[in-house]
Amino acid sequence: MIKFLADFPAPYGDIVYYLLFAIILLSFIAFSVMFFIWLERKLSARMQDRLGPTRTGGKFGWLQSLADTIKLLTKEDTKPALADGVLFYLAPYVSFAASFAAFLVLPLGSKMVGYSLPIAAFFMLSILSSEVFGVILAGYASAGKWSLFGGIREAAQVVSYEIPRGICLLLPVLIAGSFDLTEITSAQSGPFWNWFIFYNPFTFIGFIVFFICITASCKRAPFDLAEAESELVAGFHTEYSGLRWSFFFMAEYASMFAMSALASILFLGGWHCGLIGGDEVTAFGSIGYLLNLICLVGKSWFLIAVMMWMRWSLPRIRIDQVMMICFKYLLPISCFLLIGDALWLLLFPTNWQIYWQYAIAFTMIFVKLSTILRLFTSSNTTQPGKLPGAWQNLETPLMYQKLHHNVKQQLASPLTQPSQSASD
C-alpha cells in the first residue's frame, strides 16, 4: 500500500496517505459509537430489569443501531423559524470536529498514532475542551429557552471541570517526566503494579478524581444537566433532528472514548496488558501490536461501561451541586494531590517504592475479588434498610439513619435508639 502511494507525485502521496488514515479513524469511531449505543441500551435495560432490543438482527438486537442510523438518515431536517441559520447548521460539525481531532494524537498502540506529538496529553485536553462550543452554539442558535439553558449550563460545567481535570493530568506527567503519551505508557510497561494508578496514594485518588472530571466534561449522567430531559426536554439539542442530532450523539460518544483512552493511558498502563514482564512487541513480535490495540481498546471500553453503569445508577444532581462538587471538593483535592505527588517523588525512598506498589496493587485485587465473591455468595432477598448484593450486611447509608432519627424524635423513647447505625 505504502509502496503504491510512493509512486504518486510528491505532495499528493502524503495527502492520500493522511486522508486514508483519517477515513479509517472516522469509520472506527462511527463503528464503535454504534456499538456503544447498543451496549448502553442493553446495559440500561439489564439494570432496570428489562430486556432491551431483542428483535432487530437476532436474539440480542445486534442491528438495532444500524436500524437507528437508517431512521436518522431518512428523518426530516428541521430548523425553528427564529433560529440563527448559519450558527444552527454549524454547531453539530463544530462539536464533532473537536472530539474527532483528539484522535489525531491518541496512540492506540505502540507506534499506532496518527501524529506523534511530544505534548499529546496537553493537546488532547485543549482540543476536547473546545468541544463545548458546539453545545453553546446549538443552545444559542436554536432560539429557545430550553436550548439556551442547556448551553449555558454546559459552558459553566465544562469550563469549571477543566481545572481539576488538567491538574489530575499532571500527576502521571510528573512521574513520567513527559507530556508524550507514548513515553507515559512506556514508563508503565511490565506487570500491572507498574501502572501509575498504583504508583502512590495520590495517583490512586487522582485517577478517581480524573474519572469524575471526564464524566462531567463528557456531560454524562449524573452530570448531564445540559440535556436534562426531565427539565429541559432535551437541552441544547431540543430543536435538532435527523443527521444533525446524530452528530451530537457521535461527538458525545467519541469524546467518551477519547477521554477513557486518555485515562487508561495515563493511569491504567495504556496498551500494556500488565501480565507479562516487559513490552508486548519485544515479547511476541508483530502479534504484540494487535495485543496492544486489544488491550487499550478493552480498557477504554471498560471505563465507558463504568460510565454507563454510573449513568443508570445515580440520580442527576442540581447545577449548584455540580459547581459545588467541582470548586469545593475536586479542585482542592486535586491541588493537594499534585503537591503530594511532587513531595512523594522528592522524598519517598526509591527502594521502598516497589513494595508500596506491590502492597496497593495486591490489596486492590483482594478487595475486588472478595467483593465479587460476596456477590455470588449473598442471598437473593434483601432485608429492609440493608444494602443488597455484595454489601448485604451493611445498612443503607443516610436514609436508614434519618428514618431512625425521625422515629426517635416522634416517640422520644430510649428503646428506638439506633445504637449500631452510627458505627457503620
Binding site: 510528491a10 505532495p11 502524503d14 495527502i15 440563527d84 448559519v86 450558527l87 454549524l90 506529538l117 511530544p118 505534548i119 496537553f122 493537546f123 485536553l125 485543549s126 482540543i127 475542551s129 473546545s130 463545548v132 462550543f133 453553546i136 452554539l137 444559542y140 439556551l148 448551553g151 449555558i152 459552558a155 459553566a156 465544562v158 469550563v159 477543566e162
Partner: protein, 228 residues
Amino acid sequence: MELDETLFYLIAIPIAVLALIIVFTTHIVRAAIWLLFTLIGTAFLYFLLDAAFVAASQLMIYVGGILVLLIFAIMLTNQNPLNRLPISKLDRGFSILFVLFLGLGISVALYNSPVISGNGQNKTNTDSSSKKSEDQDEKNSSLSNDQISEIGTSFFDLNSKIPSQPMPGFPEGFKVNRKLPPRTNQGYLLPFELISIHLLVILIGAAYLARAKYNKNTENVSPSDTME
C-alpha cells in the same frame, strides 16, 4: 507550489477573511463565533511551524478559556439593543479615515524596512546556491538554547552579552544592540512593568465604565455595593 505553502494559504486566507468578517458584521454573537475560527486557524498556523506547544496553549487559553468566557458573557447580557451593533455614519467615516491612515503608515514602514526592500539577509544569499541558502534559513529561523537564555537573562539585566549570532526576525544589518554599552543597568523589566500597570489601569477603567449605574435618589445604595 510546495505542500507547506499550499497549507499555509489554505489556513491563512480563511483567517484573514474571517477577521474581516468579525470587523464588518453587526451581529455580536456571530462575531464571537468567527473569532473562534480565527483563533483556531492561528493555532493551525503554529502547528504548521512545528510549534506544537504554542498551538496547544493557544487552543487551551484563547479558545477553551477566554472565548468561552466571552461567549458566556455575551449570552448572559444578550439584550435586544446589544444584539446588533448600530453603526452611525460618523463612526463609519472616522473608521475609514483611521484605517487609511494606519494602512499608509504600515506600508511606508514596510517599504523602508530592510527585509522587504532587500537590504537584509536575503541579499547575502542571492549568489549562493539554493541548497546553501536553505541551510542558512534553517540556521536563522530557529533559536538555539543559548540564545533563548540570553534573551531571558538580559530581560532582567543579568547579562550584558549581545547576541553573537544573527537573530531571526532581525535583518543582518541590524546593529542597534551592538552600539549599547556593555551593561545598561536597566534591562527590559521597567517597560514590561509599565505595560502591565497600563493594562491594570485599563481593566479598572473598564470595570468602572461597565458597573451597574446606581440611582442618585436612592442614597442608601453605595457604588461599592453595585460594583458586585
